[in-house]
Every structure is written in C-alpha cells, then in structure tokens.
Amino acid sequence: MTTTERQTIQTSGETRPPILEIEDLVVEFHQGSKVVRAANHVSLSIRQGETVGIVGESGSGKSVLCRSILRLLPSPPSFVKSGRISFAGRDLLSLPESEMQKIRGADIAMIFQNPMNALNPVWPIGDQITEGERVHRHIGARAARECAVELLKRVGIPSPEMRVDEYPHQWSGGMVQRAVIAMAIVGGPKLILADEPTTALDVTIQDQILALLMDLQEATGTTLILVSHDMAVVAETCDRVAVMYAGRIMELAPTEEVFARPRHPYSLGLLRSIPRIDGKDQRLEPIPGQPPSLSDLPPGCPFMPRCRFASSECGTAEIVLREVAKDHFSACIKADDIAGMMS
C-alpha cells in the first residue's frame, strides 16, 4: 500500500471499503449422529484498518469463526453448510487449496492463544519466523536470518542477533508470543486474526503484548480481528465489538456503545456479572443456567432459556441482526426494551 492510499483511508474514516465480508456463514461439526452447529448464520463485514473484537464465552463460536476464515478446520468433521466469505473481493470458500495456501501467512495471518504450542519445539525460532518468506519469496539463508533479526527487533526482543538461533523452550511465554507476532507480520498481511493472544499471559506481559499489537497496527494500517473472552481487553483495544453466543452474533456495535448502551440481554448479562476493578461494591448478577448444547439448539433465540426479558415470541421469532441505533445491531426482538438498562 502506498502512503497516499493509506492517507485516503485514514481521512475517509467510516467509508473505508470492507476488506472482509462474511455472509450468512453456517459451520457444522458432524460427530457420529450428532450435528453440532458452531457458527449459526454469522454475517460480519470488516473495514480496512479496523480493529474488531469478538467476545463470548467458551463454545460461543468465536474461534470457529476465525478458523473458518482461513479454512483451517478439518473437513470432516467440520462442514460449511452455507455462506460466503469474501476477502479483498475474492471468495475464500471456493478457492482451490493451492490458492488458499498463498493467502495464508501472506495476506491473512493468525496469532494463536497458546504461544508455546504455536511453534515447533525442535526448530530454531529465527528459522520458523522466516519459513514463509523462504517458501513464498525464495529468499536465501543469509537474507532470511537478517530478516528474522530485524523482525525480532521490531517486536521488542532484546539482543535479537544473539537469540535468533535459540529454541522456543529457552524463551518465556511472553517472548514466544512476540516471536509468534513476528511470524504473523513477516508477510505484511492485510488482515491479522488474533485468537486470545494474551489469555495465557500474565497481566503485565499482556499489557506489553497489547501495546505491541496496537503499535504494529498503527504503523502498518493492517486490519485486526481480536478474539477474547476478556471484555476489558476488547474495550481498550477495539473499534467495534461483536458479542457471540451459541454460534450467533447477538450484538455488533462500536465498542463504547456495546459497553455503555448494550442492546442485547446477553451483553447486558455479561457486563453485570463481571466484577469491576474500579466499580461500586455490589452483588454480581450472574446469568442463570448454562449455555445450550450446540447439538440441540432450541428454536428461536438460543439465549431465551436464560433471558429475563424473554416471552413466548422469542421461541418462534426469526433471529436476525437488525440496526437498532446508528451502526448498532442487535439480534434481540426486544432490543428497544433493553435500551437504557445499563446505567
């Protein structure tokens, strides 16, 4: 991307073109006679340069969504039942595997939750970082090493020329996550998918890694999807947030809107069940019950059995994200009753 292009993107603000469009995606896992629906009619459009957070509890489908974009889910057992994913105008789901291979790492990169599992334990870190470059761009060994040193410096590894030949077990979790980030940015990706990138890290290291991700993003103008179960992490780093539950996006809005003026009972429930580090002392209000089984979803709204606003219509109504305020989407038919409940 040239400098002038980037400037236009920044000045034009909200009219930036979408780089990723997910339409009506349904992903199922077949386990014997059971069908587990992990992503259920998900639609999401992400603009170039944006940071979008995806929050939700275990099993809400956030990781499945990320992996579907890169087509990393093994099939079988997983099947894309319907939907379309278009990235920079190309339909990812219909590309041949060889084309998809070229997109992975080069155009779309992924950062995984457990940094120690993301690297090969018996291969020097520097070599792993530049593997993609050597394969895709056929650069030589010396150039690759220089490139690895340069990248490690960029992600804040001290004395990188000494450490580039070390193995993952010689590094701490925070340092390995920096190496994984170096690996993600090596090909200059347009989109980075970060799946719980700081969950395995201590709070002061999480702070360092989030600062690094935001710096890199500012420098390169790349688009970032940040998956997290931690609402506070998302609140501090993202422009927009999608709240997922039982495979569906329940609410989608600018970050501040979701946290200050939630319009879905599930988002409201989550916010009220979190202890605040600087909040008033009050008893937590847990969401009663447990998430539904994804192999046996109730008809209508999947949150209905736990929802205190539910009525009989919720069991029959079609669940669609609709715009309830400017840029604010909610999948609740009673979104208007929820307005103003947070304060």
């Binding site: 940071t51 509890e57 275990s58 701490s172 925070g174 340092m175 201590d202 709070v203 002061t204 290291i205 999480q206 702070d207 360092q208 989030l210 600062a211 690094l212 935001m214 710096d215 179960h229 931690d230 609402m231 506070a232 992490v233 609140a235 501090e236 780093t237 993202c238 422009d239 970050t255 501040e256 946290f259 200050a260 429930g269 989550l270 916010l271 069940s273 979190i274 202890p275 605040r276 580090i277 600087d278 002392d281 008893r283 937590l284 209000e285 847990p286 969401i287 009663p288 447990q290």
Partner: protein
C-alpha cells in the same frame, strides 16, 4: 483479636535435580526459592486475597499452609498451634479445619468416583456424621452448593466446569471447616458461571463465618471478594493492606504497575504504553537486594544491594520498598 492462621517467616525451596554431567562438573545443586520468608495473618471471618503473576509463589504459599509442601524454614500456626512440623496427627486435625479448593475443576475430582463417592470419602474419613446419616448429609451438602440430589450419582465428565467446582466446594465444606484456601477457584470458569460461584462463596462465607485465603491472578475478582490483600512478587509479599488501601492507594511500585496494567471496562480504545518492561526473573536466580529491582521504574543504587525494609504506611498497610512515600 487473635489471628486464626499465622504464617511466620515461611520459606519453601525446591532443589533442582543435578544431572550426572552436573555432578561430574562439580556444579552446585540449584535451588528455587518459591516462597521467601513470608509473614501473613488471617483473622476469623476474614478473606485475604493473594495476588501475583505466575511464579510469584502464591500457589506454593497456599499449599505450604495446608502442609502439602514441607517448608525449609518458618512456621504455620493454626489456632495458635504449630501445624508445619510434619506431625501426621497434627496435619489430620488441621485438615478438619482447613480445606482447599483447586483451580482446575475437572482434574481436581477423581474421574472414576461419582459426586456422592467424592463427598462421602471425606465425611467418613473424618467421621463427621454417623454412618447412617451420610446419605442425608451428602444431599444437604449438594443443596448447600446449589446442586440437586440427582447429581449425586453422576461422574465428573457428565458435569459442566461450574458444577465440578461446586462439587469441589461441597467436598471442602463436608468437614465443616473454619477456613478455606481457594487456589484460582474461579479462573477456569466463563464469566457468567464465575459470577454464580463467586456469589455462592460469599453466601457460604456469610452463613458459616468462614475465613478464606483467595489466591488469584485476576485483580478485579480479588477486589470483589477480599477484605485484605497481599501482593506477591518472586516469593515475597511486597505489599499488604486493606482492600481499599491496595486498590486505591497502593504504595509499592509493583502494586502500582500491576494495577495500571489491568485492562478496564468503561474505557475506550487508547494508545497503550506498556507499564512494565521485561519479565519476572527466574526463581533459581533471584537478584540481590530488592526482588523487583530488575523491572522497577523507580530503581536506585541501594535497591541493587540492600533488601528493602517493610515500611508501615498505616496501621494496616505495609510495603517492602526503600522509597515508600
């Protein structure tokens, strides 16, 4: 008021096995000092939060209090009696009064024992109720933690994480203890379930006048449940105080940095500048002087040589730092 539990100068060390090559080379055995001369009091009905990052020694301290690790120095006094001298009878008596709840709800239950068998074992071992009353007592305990009697016949694999944690809590409560040590007891749970378990803990604390040591890395959860908080770094308690003192007026630079690093709801996207550089040093290679000197933003020459004194900031707050203001 007398403290229920007193920890005095407790030190726990883990020697690293020397390989044959190390022995041949005449290398000295390395020792990791996981807990380093810790003092801590817990009063009746009080909850003390123990926070710190991985490797700070909070779990080791919790386990050493229960006698699961043998201290290399120091004492643990429960109800005025020394329970850390390795006497089996004393330890058994201690476990009637002091119980632990572990982090991983699945691995802390035996997968081949039903819920009833898990609770039954503790009841019979400590002879809490006459044998014929055990089934009724199990039902009562399940009710106490919000489970139905039908759960009694289930195996852990048929339970959710939140339900497993409730079973762990029922097992701990079965001996009618005066105090619980909870090691990351809600860390593995999703937020909506975590809130259910936290409320349950508060109810049990209220109903039975329990004391608690609540070990966690999640500061917002610790603030929610604790009366007092101790902050650990590399084996030492660097600051201790009432909850408001630690969260509103922290004095130790580590506590201040830790709180500044926590992401907060109610803020918006902001430019981040990492609060602390570098990482926690290895417990095999603890720096001399102040343990925090390698990362401290206010480090001076004295910090590199002299162990900081414990400064009383108020009658309830202490911080171990040369430059507490």
């Amino acid at each position: 008021m007398e403290p229920l539990l007193s920890v005095r100068g407790l030190t726990v060390e883990f020697p690293r096995r020397r390989s044959i090559a190390d022995v041949v080379r005449g290398q000295k055995a390395m020792t990791a000092r996981a807990v380093d001369g810790v003092d801590l009091d817990v009063y009746p009905k009080e909850t003390v939060g123990l926070v710190g990052e991985s490797g700070s020694g909070k779990t080791t301290l919790g386990r050493a209090i229960l006698g699961l690790y043998k201290p290399s120095a120091g004492q643990v006094l429960f109800g005025g009696q020394d329970v850390s001298n390795g006497d089996a009878a004393a330890r058994q008596k201690l476990h009637r009064n002091l119980q632990m709840v572990f982090q991983n709800p699945y691995s802390s239950l035996n997968p081949r024992m039903t819920v009833a068998q898990t609770i039954d074992e503790a009841l019979r071992f400590h002879r809490i109720v006459p044998a014929q009353d055990v089934p009724a007592e199990i039902d009562r305990l399940l009710g106490l933690v919000g489970l139905t009697p039908e759960m009694a016949g289930r195996y852990p694999q048929a339970l959710s994480g939140g339900q497993c944690q409730r079973v762990g809590l029922a097992r701990a409560m079965s001996v009618r203890p005066g105090m619980l040590v909870l090691d990351e007891a809600v860390a593995a749970l999703d937020v909506s379930i975590q809130a259910q378990v936290l409320n349950l803990l508060l109810d049990l604390r209220e109903a039975y006048g329990l004391s608690m040591i609540f070990i966690a890395h999640e500061l917002s959860v610790v603030r929610h449940i604790s009366h007092r908080v101790a902050v650990m770094y590399l084996g030492k308690i660097v600051e201790v105080g009432r909850r408001e003192e630690i969260f509103d007026r922290p004095k130790h630079p580590y506590t201040q940095s830790l709180l500044a690093a926590v992401p907060r709801l109610g803020t918006t996207k902001r430019k981040r500048q990492a609060v602390l550089q570098g990482e926690v040093p290895s417990p095999y290679n603890i720096p001399p002087g102040c343990h925090f000197q390698t990362r401290c933003p206010r480090v001076q020459a004295i910090c590199r040589t002299a162990v900081p004194p414990s400064i009383a900031v108020s009658s309830t707050q202490r911080a171990d730092c040369h430059f507490v203001t």
